[in-house]
């Protein structure tokens, strides 16, 4: 290779070409920016979680149980507490209504009663300072999340009624152990001292309570204790959280979200790659004459490839760097967009790995997409310098196949790298390849059909414009891919989002319940019913709730089974959890039987296993189906059941939905609470009702469903914004490609247009022909892209999100029309400069090499 020539030529070509190629590089930079931003945020979050893990947990170890710790567990913990340098604290946590005495407002709160020196790590920041340390004093005091004060319209120093006890609001918390987020919007935290819990009389049999023990101590001591007792704890359904497992749990869900977002970024990058390919293709076409001349003058294939390859790599590196700069900036904006989804407070930081990834991606994607057009330069015959008609020979099918394989492997690897699971990554990569293949095939087929169509009846400009789609040096396939794929990504995202949002608001029945009453003790039920009826509030649904656990499945003892370390996460969760059972004679409207049969009206035969109906996904997690036997431990009483049906439950519906349903006649005597659904139209009356209810029944909690829906909507809106921002990246990439493709087409057709002008065609006719070509291309790409997006979003909605599919047809039509309009605008601007004569422009086209010669 002649290095001096290569350097000199590359430098000279860069001088004039990089600005134009920069537009294509810009397309790719946006995709890189999206990936770098997300990757960086993931790194930042995992770093913050690692750094703050101990502080977030507040201890080295947390043990939790919904049913309360057995004496055995308490003894084991006592042994640990007796070890040197080891300390324990306990927290009782439950949801309850709180009433601000002065304002009379109520709110569901997340109550945490503390006993012991918790937290062991991380300072609690309170207003006023030192309030946390005074929490355990003899006077009942409460520390609350700031949001609660606003919601209750109260202030520090006011009185908070909690069950049957009154607490003075001693201050607010700015920082306390545990993650905050959407949860605090539904139920803000209220911290009280454990010594005052009994006075509230809120913890009663059957209440939904979490019991927690926090431990701090030397790692070796804790590890030895865990090694010795883990099996026994697991068997006793005690959930164990170490700092490591807590960090993993915090990071996991956020990582999944960002990985889904990453796929959107990846789609933008693929689109950018197509932009680079079509840009380099046009560039190469323009360089054919120059390369023929260089070959004539004696430059060899390696010199030519090295010269233009260096330009491409320069473009890739520049795009990578630009993408990284944008991505790092994006990293500063992203945390704001997804604040509610962040498990920890993060400060953006530069992640060298993400930056390196961005630059490598830029180089690799450019190489991958630019190599096929560049190889065309190696096949330019020098004879072309004498006779323009000599086109480069066709490339080797083996090289083409190798390139396609490399492209597919890259997409696959990138898909798996970004996706939350290999399966999703594989599906994404295959979907992407299939979409691109269909778009390319349709464009080719349309061009062939149009070539064959005889449009003798059509005016000249229409025939000319349509014929351009299949003429030599056409951009039909490249532009269809760019527009079609861009539209496909944007339309698919929009459709899926529309369906997810639609699902949130799906339960739009006018009589939909908006008030949930729970923890109604059995003896309170008649009084609560009367309380509602007296106020003309109809009870829409009522269900008894009985706490239970699974004692055995097909005779296999759950306690022993939980000791098995091979159990997968879902099965462990399903076996260990505390269930809320109910009984019902009839299937609810939100339920559908998918396997087996609902029970007959006759009561179950005594002495035989009772029939039971399980939610289908729960049965799958447990690995059982119709016919299997489940033994329930209903607060100490074993109840033998046999699964007779599996149900699909519409969880989106505001209804009393249960995982496990018994027939009537079995659980009636078990300790139970009740769950009531009601509807109170007016928000003010609803608030007053809640306040009255708490006054009369302090232990009964009432959740205003609109609060829940608002919280869910906030979370969804944050996600949607993040997705929309990324979709914007894709859209911007698509637009950049569209502009670039229009510029390329303009450059290709310049000479043709000038000739037409020279032959006397009016400028309007030339413009119409160009517009026809652009609009036909946009129409082809937009229609295929829209149809493909409908198919993709339908399959995503059904398989990934398990939602009914309802396409936003009006929006999609608008999007497609917008693309057509844009095509028309870009096409109509594709005309030679009218201020100058055709001859001058012809000469210019000749000497700048933009024309055909």
């Amino acid at each position: 290779m002649n290095r001096r020539f290569v350097w000199a030529m590359a430098r000279r070509e860069a001088r004039t070409s990089l600005r134009r190629l920069g537009l294509y590089g810009g397309c790719m930079a946006l995709g890189i920016a999206a990936l770098v931003g997300l990757d960086g945020l993931r790194h930042t979050v995992s770093h913050a979680v690692a750094e703050q893990g101990q502080r977030l947990l507040g201890a080295d170890l947390r043990l939790s149980s919904q049913a309360g710790f057995s004496t055995d567990v308490r003894e084991r913990v006592a042994q640990l507490a007796a070890e040197p340098d080891t300390a324990t604290a306990s927290v009782t946590q439950f949801g309850s209504m709180v009433l601000a005495r002065e304002s009379g407002r109520t709110r569901l709160a997340d109550v945490r009663a503390l006993t012991g020196p918790f937290p062991f790590y991380g300072a609690v920041e309170s207003v006023p300072e030192g309030a946390w340390e005074r929490l355990a004093s003899a006077t009942p005091q409460a520390l609350v999340d700031t949001s609660l004060l606003i919601q209750l319209d109260t202030e520090i120093g006011a009185t908070l009624e909690l069950g049957e006890a009154a607490f003075r609001i001693a201050g607010t918390l700015n920082r306390a152990p545990g993650s905050v987020g959407v949860r605090s919007q539904i139920a803000p935290r209220v911290f009280i001292a454990g010594r005052h819990l009994a006075a509230t009389r809120l913890v009663q049999p059957g209440s939904l309570v979490d019991h927690l023990i926090y431990v701090a101590g030397p790692t070796a001591t804790l590890q030895a204790w865990l090694d010795a007792h883990r099996k026994a704890l697991e068997s006793d359904r005690v959930r164990i959280r170490t700092v490591d497992s807590y960090q993993a749990e915090l990071g996991r869900s956020f990582s999944t979200v960002t990985r889904y977002l990453g796929l959107v970024g990846l789609a933008a990058l693929a689109l950018g790659g197509i932009g680079v390919a079509s840009g380099v293709r046009v560039f190469v076409r323009e360089k054919l004459d120059a390369v023929a001349l260089l070959r004539c003058l004696g430059s060899r294939t390696p010199d030519i490839l090295a010269t233009y390859g260096m330009l491409a790599l320069g473009l890739g590196a520049a795009s990578g760097v630009f993408g990284v700069v944008l991505g790092v900036g994006f990293q500063w904006i992203l945390p704001e967009l997804v604040q509610g989804l962040l498990p920890v407070v993060v400060a953006p930081r530069l992640a060298p790995a993400s930056i390196a990834t961005g630059i490598v991606l830029g180089l690799w994607i450019t190489t991958l997409f630019a190599i096929a057009p560049l190889l065309e330069l190696s096949r330019v015959p020098p004879l072309r310098a004498l006779r323009r008609g000599f086109e480069p020979k066709g490339g080797s099918p083996a090289i083409r196949a190798a390139l396609f394989t490399a492209l597919a492997v890259t997409l696959l690897a990138a898909g798996i790298w970004q996706a939350p699971s290999a399966r999703v990554g594989l599906g994404f990569a295959l979907g992407l390849c299939l979409t691109l293949a269909i778009l390319a095939a349709t464009a080719r087929a349309a061009a062939t059909l149009l070539r064959r169509a005889r449009l003798r009846w059509a005016p000249f400009w229409l025939r000319q414009g349509i014929a351009n789609l299949s003429r030599p040096r056409n951009h039909t396939v490249a532009t269809s891919l760019a527009i079609g794929f861009g539209l496909f990504v944007v339309a698919t995202l929009h459709t899926v989002q529309y369906n997810v949002r639609h699902q949130l608001a799906l339960d739009s029945r006018p009589d939909r319940p908006n008030l949930v009453l729970f923890d109604v003790q059995r003896d309170q039920v008649p009084a609560v019913r009367a309380f509602l009826t007296d106020r003309d509030i109809p009870i829409l649904e009522e269900a008894p709730v009985i706490s239970a656990r699974i004692a055995a499945v097909d005779g296999r003892d759950t306690g022993n089974w939980l000791g098995d370390e091979q159990l997968d996460r879902e099965q462990r969760w399903a076996l260990r959890r505390e269930y809320r059972l109910t009984y019902a004679a009839e299937l609810r409207p939100s339920e559908t039987i998918v396997t087996g049969d609902w029970w007959p009206a006759d009561p179950p035969t005594p002495g035989t296993p009772a029939p039971v109906s399980l939610e289908a996904e729960l049965a799958e997690s447990l690995g059982i189906g119709v016919g299997n036997r489940v033994t329930w431990d209903v607060q100490g009483v074993p109840i033998e059941t046999r699964v007779t049906s599996l149900r699909e439950v519409d969880w989106g519906r505001m209804a009393s939905n249960f995982f496990v349903v018994f027939p009537p006649g079995i659980l009636e005597t078990a300790p139970s609470t009740s769950f009531l659904l009601a509807r109170v139209e007016d928000a003010a009356i609803r608030a007053q009702f809640q306040a009255d209810l708490v006054g009369r029944f302090p232990n009964v909690s009432a959740l205003d469903a609109t609060v829940l829906l608002t919280a869910l909507d906030t979370m969804h809106r944050e996600l949607a914004t993040a997705v929309q921002v990324l979709a914007l990246f894709t859209l911007a990439t698509g637009l950049a490609i569209l502009v670039a493709a229009a510029a390329a087409a303009r450059s290709e057709r310049t000479r043709e247009m000038l000739l037409l002008r020279t032959l006397g065609a009016p400028a309007q006719l030339v413009r119409r022909a160009a517009t026809t070509e652009a609009v036909a291309l946009a129409a082809l790409a937009a229609s295929v892209g829209t149809v493909l997006s409908l198919l993709a979003s339908w399959s995503l909605a059904r398989t990934v999100f398990a939602l009914p599919f309802d396409p936003p047809l009006a929006d999609l039509a608008l999007l497609a029309l917008g693309t057509l309009g844009l095509g028309a605008i870009l096409g109509s601007t594709r005309r030679p400069d009218r201020s100058r004569g055709p001859l001058a422009l012809l000469r210019e086209a000749e000497s700048t090499g933009t024309g055909a010669g």
């Binding site: 004539c296 004696g298 010199d303 310098a385 004498l386």
Partner: protein, 227 residues
């Protein structure tokens, strides 16, 4: 210097018919330092012959020897190397690289010289300047082709053709795209430089006035040498 034996060139037809014979068993030789004009009407095969003699294409049959070396067995890159070392070109449509200045266009053949003949970049630049001065463009070295007239562009092309001190210069209708007066000036320059440097010159033209200035005229008609 150049020997062509039974040189035949056929091109396949797009409709699949019998191939089109552009050159038919042409026998031809050029001595070192000789100036030969290839004359003939359009479509007689002049440019095809020039392309084959310069090693830009492979003949369907026959051989071409350049400085005693058979071009047949050489692949495209080896022929390119030979062109870089020994051949210069002047084209009808000038063929300047549009993104390079006049000076840079003249520098290209110097940068492509084989290592044993390569000089320092400063020396090359001086030489390119001298050549541009010789063709009367010392004031236009930094101009791009689009900023030059047709005659000026062809003068840059002539300077470029002599830059690598070629032993053979091939000129394809060098005045074909120029008006009569400019064409005359350019022809003067081409022949003058050729005389100064003793280069072998093969010039394809259908301008009898230019052909008359050659030492020998080879006439082609329908792919055959007629005189």
């Amino acid at each position: 210097m150049i020997v062509a034996r039974k040189l035949t060139q056929r091109y396949p037809r797009a409709n699949g018919g019998p191939p089109l014979t552009v050159l038919d068993r042409v026998e031809f030789s050029v001595d070192a330092g000789e100036v030969v004009a290839i004359l003939g009407p359009s479509g007689s095969g002049k440019t095809t012959l020039l392309g084959l003699l310069a090693g830009l294409d492979r003949p369907s049959e026959g051989t071409v020897e350049l400085e005693g070396r058979d071009l047949g067995p050489l692949d495209e890159d080896a022929r390119a190397q030979l062109r870089a070392a020994s051949i210069g070109f002047v084209f009808q449509n000038f063929q300047l690289l549009p993104t390079l200045t006049a000076l840079e266009n003249v520098l290209v053949p110097l940068e492509l010289l084989p290592r044993d003949r390569a000089r320092t970049p400063a020396e090359d630049e001086r030489r390119a300047h001298d050549l541009l001065a010789r063709v009367g463009l010392e004031e236009r070295t930094g101009h791009y082709p689009s900023q030059l007239s047709g005659g000026e562009q062809q003068r840059v092309a002539i300077a470029r053709a002599f830059a690598n001190e070629p032993r053979v210069l091939f000129a394809d209708e060098p005045t074909g795209n120029l008006d009569r007066g400019t064409g005359h000036e350019v022809a003067e320059l081409l022949f003058g430089l050729n005389r100064e440097r003793g280069t072998t010159l093969v010039i394809v033209t259908h301008d009898t006035e230019i052909a008359a200035r050659a030492q020998r005229i080879v006439r082609l008609d329908a792919g055959r040498v007629v005189s």
